[in-house]
Amino acid sequence: MIHILLGVLYLVLAPVIGGLLDGVDRKLTARMQRRIGPPILQPFYDVAKLIKKQNIVTNRLQNPFIISHLVFAAFTGFLFFEGTDILLIVFVLTVSSIFLILAAYSSNSPYSYLGAERELLLTMAYEPMVLVALVGFFKVAHSFHFYSIVTSGKPMLLYLPGIFLGIFFILGIKLRKSPFDISYSHHAHQELVKGITTDFTGKTLAMQEIAHWYETVYILGFVYIFFSFTPVLGVVLTLFVYFLEVVIDNVTARLKWEIILKSTWVVTFVFGFLNLIPFYLVTVR
């Protein structure tokens, strides 16, 4: 019962936390570039404005796809904090991102198409690492349930350092940060970077943005698993990882998609699999 309440709490609070994190991110980015930067609440103003704008729809399928994207993104986090099987959660998350790709494909714009293709590539790039991480969690905690893993008290970071590095590597893809922001970025770059959202206007874009906030919180929850042996410090460390991600965003330039795909897979195989080998030789008690 308490877990269902936590899930509902996530549904209500995640957009607020996600939006605030986004605002802090933009402020930090501005300070790192020696600018003053927008107010912390800027992401909320943006979404409030987008809801009031005219909605130009290039294909009737676009809105149902985006609504599904939002619903599944929220549902993923709900399942996560409700404590369902983590395997199922990753599949629901994939469904959510597939709906976003379909929404981008439903438009006739070549930029939208290119964005969708790049998003598919990114999905290909990060998905193996997530699955390896799941195996790692199971090998250490002997459970696929979020709360069993978190309350097992095992120092995941010490058992799975390689997998943590791998997850940290692909974090930039899910948070849409440089050097992996090839399909969509929040910053004032231009060209293809607006890729996947090229044909989204008004409410559609607002829904995509809110879905991204949901995803941000869920993904940070995933990172928290590594630090779960010290609950309070764990939250601080998770936020520190987010801060590192902002730093990386500011000091790197976009990569080509070939390099992204190769490097993420190399990292997955080297750090992820090497980390798993000992668990097949010795069982963790």
């Binding site: 003053i36 927008p38 943006d46 294909n59 206007t201």
Partner: protein
């Protein structure tokens, strides 16, 4: 304060300008002027934009592009003509291919004079455009416009 004033997103297009005004527009994004502190973002995508910043006198080749960008922007929207060429074509006005001002092609809300327009005056122009954007928003909400599907209008 209305949310429209807090988060105006801009699209910038060079309609045969000499690039002087464009450099000044981009200078507004630098740490010295930092437009983002007002929530202003240079989007580069007409479908996300609220304010259309145009420079230059518009020639016969890019007239269609200016119209296209304007028609792709969702309502409410405003147009800011930056620089003297965008106002009346200036010394290019007599050229055979120059239309002589943005308002010959699309309706303009704010004119920012100067050759090249200073970043301060561009920011001032954008701030004045926000007032007009706010007025257009109330009109927009009063008339509940049709939703555009596949390029044709249909009621919600």
């Amino acid at each position: 304060m209305s949310v429209f004033k807090r988060s105006p997103w801009i699209i910038h297009y060079d309609a045969s300008s000499c690039n002087g005004c464009d450099i000044e527009v981009l200078a507004c994004l630098t740490p010295l002027y930092d437009l983002e502190r007002f929530g202003i973002i240079n989007t580069g995508n007409p479908k996300h934009a609220d304010i259309f910043l145009v420079t230059g006198g518009v020639n016969s080749r890019n007239e269609a592009v200016v119209r296209n960008i304007y028609s792709q922007m969702p309502d409410p929207k405003v147009v800011v003509a930056v620089g003297i060429c965008a106002i009346n074509g200036n010394f290019f006005a007599e050229c055979y291919n120059i239309r002589g001002g943005i308002d010959k092609v699309i309706p303009v809300d704010v004119y920012v004079p100067g050759c090249a327009a200073r970043p301060e005056s561009i920011i001032d122009g954008v701030v004045q455009a926000l007032e007009i954007l706010e007025r257009k928003r109330t009109e927009f909400e009063r008339y509940r416009p049709a939703r555009v599907v596949n390029g044709s209008h249909e009621s919600l």
